[in-house]
Symmetry: C2
Subunit: 185 residues, 2 copies
DNA sequence: GAGCTAAGCGGACCGTGGTCCGTATGGCTT
DNA sequence: AAGCCATACGGACCACGGTCCGCTTAGCTC
């Protein structure tokens, strides 16, 4: 990547972050970001592909931390704790991660529906599948993982907390319950 | 509703159905429907609110039939069979319903993500909640229903069958497994 | 440092969903 | 039959995501 491209990339990310901070995620239009970074609109698209790509780039740092925490962090989230315990912690961590970035993720989702195969989800599926197997769950663990991870969804989280008035605590308890039901033999 | 409005409504629905049949769901743009019905674009929006509304109207008949089948149809889907058996049948019926209208539903979904509260989903949640209680499942049945219904999602179905190459049979088996795990005590 | 070329840039342009508002008319009242 | 007005119409208009392509420039080569 050429120097000017790298510079523009960081300028765009900074401008985008500033926009979100000052005016909310809804004002994060591609044109506004371009203008705020004093750059052409085409440049934004070349750097990030599309709106979802830009948002993913914005969340990248947080996503890495989150991912590391369950892949190699301390127990009970990371390795060292029994698999079911890790699964419980994973769901809670994920719900909180989603809640923290809810605003941004929701404005990205329209595109992401089609992108149910985007990288973060893949990682979650793989992780849950591994934990289920480790826990000795038999049957179609891959599909079971898909079902479980579907519960850990921003849109669902948003719907249940905002529209249906459920607390995050309740969702977390729901996850514990779900894991317990699925893993007991 | 005035007579001309009613006439335009049916003309629009016919035009939309024709468009989908002839050129696929992707060509179902609001402007194309308006043109095909020889009507102004504004009229389409007034009648159906937005694109999702139009698509829901298009699927309304099928949705009613589907809904009736599990609310008052013959067992094991309808009343008469034991609740767990009905739950199993419900999932299979829903997966097939979704698969049948996949194309149309997918092009509507972008909007529908925000609309996790749209009527059909409500009905499904209510139904599953009732069956879980009837089956003697204790705990947060409402939330458990949300988790189960999240598995019955067009976008997920599409992803798993097209992108991951799973068969519909496998998804149905996965539902049976899920129900078994959740309801056993 | 001149010349070359791939990489990058930017903004005009397009399609689509959705809004708005001035105009037309169905159909009720008298 | 005439008058009235709520209802409905239609298309110009807007915002935004995304594409395209002719122009610019970083930075390597000689």
């Amino acid at each position: 990547m050429r120097a000017d491209a790298a510079r523009n990339r960081t300028r765009l990310l900074e401008a985008a972050a500033r926009l979100v901070a000052e005016r909310g995620a809804e004002c994060l239009t591609m044109e506004a970001v371009a203008a705020a970074a004093s750059v052409g609109k085409g440049t934004v698209f070349r750097r990030f592909g599309d709106r979802t790509g830009l948002i993913m780039a914005l969340l990248d740092r947080s996503e890495r931390l989150y991912q590391e925490s369950f892949l190699s962090g301390p127990p009970p989230l990371g390795p060292g704790a029994p698999p079911v315990r890790r699964l419980e912690a994973f769901g809670v961590a994920t719900l909180r991660h989603l809640a923290a970035h809810r605003e941004l993720l929701l404005t990205a989702e329209p595109e992401a529906c089609r992108r149910l195969d985007f990288a973060p989800r893949h990682a979650r599926i793989a992780h849950v599948t591994a934990l289920l197997r480790e826990a000795g769950v038999d049957g179609d663990t891959e599909l079971l993982a898909e079902a479980l991870v579907s519960y850990l969804d921003v849109a669902l989280l948003h719907h249940l907390t905002e529209r249906r008035g459920m607390s995050l605590d309740r969702l977390e308890a729901g996850w514990h319950d779900l894991v317990a039901r699925v893993t007991r033999d």
